[in-house]
């Protein structure tokens, strides 16, 4: 009954290292549904980040197709990929990736800035989101003045600012202590309850427990895809 928001079909990815071709993904096919909360797991080097980059339109598959919404991303040029990243996707990185010279508010506004929204509109949304992740009192602080957990919450607010179709989080708690990590996961639970589509890479079974669908990769293939109830 839930609609498909994104789907990869028989996706492969091969890196050329000099003359050596290294195939990282060997034909991955997954459908992502509206409101899914997915955790992607697997041993180091199995291709999780590579897949996330493709899902995030930061990279394109060597073969296979990737539909985001109703759009085939394999046909897109660089500008269109940029546009779809800005409009449809939210990124949360392991190392937060905030821009150091910008304030909390400006970091949250950044996707809206590239979408060409007006200043007032951006400011309103960014302020709302900062409040929502519990940083309403830190609007004009710079990233280095914040703890890791706080920075990651800014990153979450930033990922939400353009109301994306999918939120992609590659090991979002990897750099955090368990308490800060728990706060992040609490936010994810909230987002899930609000019906957002979340895809999270994690190494921790404990974290994966909280998601509603677990996908395991091994050597660039889908090993298992379990929906928990």
């Amino acid at each position: 009954m839930d609609s498909v928001v994104a789907s990869v079909h028989d996706v492969t990815k091969t890196y050329l290292m000099g003359e050596l071709a290294v195939q990282v993904l060997h034909g991955i096919s997954i459908d992502f549904y509206q409101g899914d909360y997915i955790s992607i797991m697997g041993p180091s080097g199995c291709g999780k980040s590579t897949l996330m980059n493709i899902l995030g339109c930061l990279d394109q598959p060597t073969s296979g197709s990737y539909f985001l919404g109703d759009k085939d991303t394999s046909l897109m040029n660089d500008n269109e990929l940029s546009a779809i990243r800005g409009a449809r996707l939210g990124f949360i990185f392991q190392s937060y990736n905030l821009i150091p010279q910008l304030t909390v508010l400006e970091n949250i506004e950044l996707p809206l800035f590239y979408q060409g929204h007006t200043e007032q509109h951006s400011r309103r949304i960014a302020t709302e989101l900062a409040d929502r992740v519990g940083l309403g009192d830190r609007l004009h602080h710079r990233p280095f003045e914040l703890s890791g957990g706080q920075q990651q919450r800014v990153a979450i607010a930033r990922a939400l600012s353009n109301d994306p179709l999918i939120i992609l989080a590659d090991e979002p708690t990897g750099n955090l202590d368990s308490k800060s990590g728990a706060e992040i996961l609490k936010l994810f639970d909230e987002l899930h309850q609000q019906g957002k589509t979340l895809i999270m890479v994690t190494h921790s079974d404990e974290l994966a427990e909280r998601s509603q669908r677990q996908i395991r990769l091994r050597d660039g293939r889908v090993e298992s895809d379990d929906r928990l109830s």
């Binding site: 940029s82 990736n97 200043e119």
Partner: protein
């Protein structure tokens, strides 16, 4: 039919688009500029050192041009005061005579210089000459009551003041009638007036030269430039103190042979005319007439005991030398701006490398390549523009300081700072392009993985 409909919808769509984009576009530009300023501020000293080349280049060019412009203006002003339609011919004592005069035991008159015959020939053979104003210049002591002053007594014709744009302060110049009648009337320069008549009005008073009294009918205004030709009868650099009397009177009173007390004994020299101003009707003909005069005098004189000065040619020379200065300034500007530009490129490349991760983040959040190009270009332009601005300020201050401390005339034109600033901004664009494109072409995944 369908064509026009399509046209209309396209136009309205475009209008809608621009309506929506305009304010956003400017906001974006402003915000991008803000980011640029922030990252420049983050490396204050480094940025300052980077733009130093541009600062020095711009400042050097503006101040060089100001000095050259000032010098050329002054020169032109001087030559223009001599009259751009005038040709001035002068008697010059040939160097060979100077030596022979000293070894004699018996004084013997030496004669040289321009003659009435010369002037007449010139006036009669060359068409387009509107007026000739000959003068004799004799060094004399002038007395009034207890005071006396050594001055150039200039015997000339009534048109002298007009030919040189030299105005009267009070009274009048002597008249044609007085000229004809060889009257003892005098017009004195402002300097003579203040030396001989510090308290009283000189008009109507008499001065004595060699036992003859001359009635003062006019006082000239002070000279803005000492451009009335250097004294022929000795003093070369003294303040231009002058008395003008009718040429006819000068001839009658002083004769043509002047006796002078020199170190070796008495020296006598015969000079008919010391100077003549030849006015040419058409300014375009001045230089040609000057050449013809030169030829005529060459034919008529055995020695070069004359000089021909063409103020217009001197104006041209001043203009040419200003142009030369401008070319030199331009070359210096070019080199220092090139160096400055390379500095900017260098620093922008460093900045791009340092901010690789930021570029990756921006790309992930929806920045297109052109957004990244724009960001780094704006930063480069701000950098070079600020350098240019500092350069303009310094470049305007330096001529002021030069004027204050050395009394040189300097002129800062509007174009020099404007041009220098625009070029420096352009340098930012030109040398910012490569680093910006390099930034934009980074692979987002690679950039995000960058430490």
């Amino acid at each position: 039919m369908t064509d026009s409909v399509n046209h209309a919808t396209a136009a309205s769509a475009l209008q809608r688009l621009t309506q929506h984009l305009r304010p956003v576009y400017w906001t974006r530009l402003r915000k991008t500029a803000e980011v640029g300023i922030k990252s420049i501020q983050a490396h204050g000293l480094r940025s300052l050192l980077t733009v130093l080349g541009i600062v020095i280049g711009v400042a050097a060019v503006i101040s060089m041009l100001a000095v050259s412009e000032g010098a050329s203006f002054e020169a032109q002003q001087q030559f223009r005061a001599l009259g751009s339609n005038n040709i001035i011919i002068k008697s010059v004592k040939p160097a060979s005579m100077e030596a022979s005069g000293g070894s004699n035991m018996r004084p013997q008159a030496i004669s040289y210089g321009l003659t009435y015959e010369d002037i007449l020939t010139i006036q009669q053979t060359i068409p387009g000459i509107s007026n000739v104003i000959p003068s004799r210049i004799i060094k004399k002591d002038v007395r009034h009551l207890g005071r006396d002053i050594s001055t150039d007594v200039v015997g000339t014709t009534v048109d002298y003041p007009i030919s040189r744009n030299y105005n009267l302060r009070s009274g009048r110049f002597f008249s044609a009638d007085e000229m004809l009648a060889q009257r003892n009337v005098a017009v004195i320069s402002d300097e003579v007036a203040s030396a001989l008549f510090p308290m009283t009005n000189p008009l109507g008073e008499s001065i004595r030269i060699d036992g003859n009294y001359y009635n003062i009918v006019g006082v000239m205004e002070p000279e803005a430039y000492s451009n009335l030709g250097r004294s022929q009868a000795g003093s070369s650099n003294a303040a231009p103190t002058r008395i003008f009397i009718p040429l006819s009177a000068a001839r009658y009173r002083f004769g043509e042979t002047l006796v002078r007390q020199a170190a070796s004994g008495v020296e006598m020299e015969t000079v008919e005319l010391h100077e003549a101003i030849i006015q040419v009707e058409d300014q375009d003909q001045v230089e040609a007439v000057g050449q013809i005069i030169e030829q005529i005098l060459e034919r008529r004189h055995r020695r070069v005991d004359y000089a021909v000065e063409v103020p217009l040619a001197l104006i041209r020379q001043a203009e040419e030398s200003a142009l030369r200065d401008q070319i030199v300034a331009g070359a210096i500007a070019g080199i220092s701006l090139l160096v400055g530009g390379i500095g900017i490129m260098n620093i922008m490349l460093a900045s791009v490398t340092e901010r690789t991760r930021e570029i990756g983040i921006r790309r992930a959040l929806g920045a297109r390549k052109q957004d990244i190009v724009q960001q780094f270009l704006i930063e480069a332009v701000i950098l070079s523009g600020v350098g240019g601005l500092i350069g303009v300020v310094i470049g305007i201050l330096i001529p002021v300081v030069i004027s204050l401390f050395w009394g040189m005339t300097t002129i800062v034109t509007i174009t020099a700072p404007l041009l220098a600033f625009s070029i420096s901004a352009l340098i930012g664009v030109v040398f910012g392009i490569y680093p910006s494109i390099r930034a934009a072409n980074m692979d987002p995944v690679e950039a995000l993985r960058h430490a």
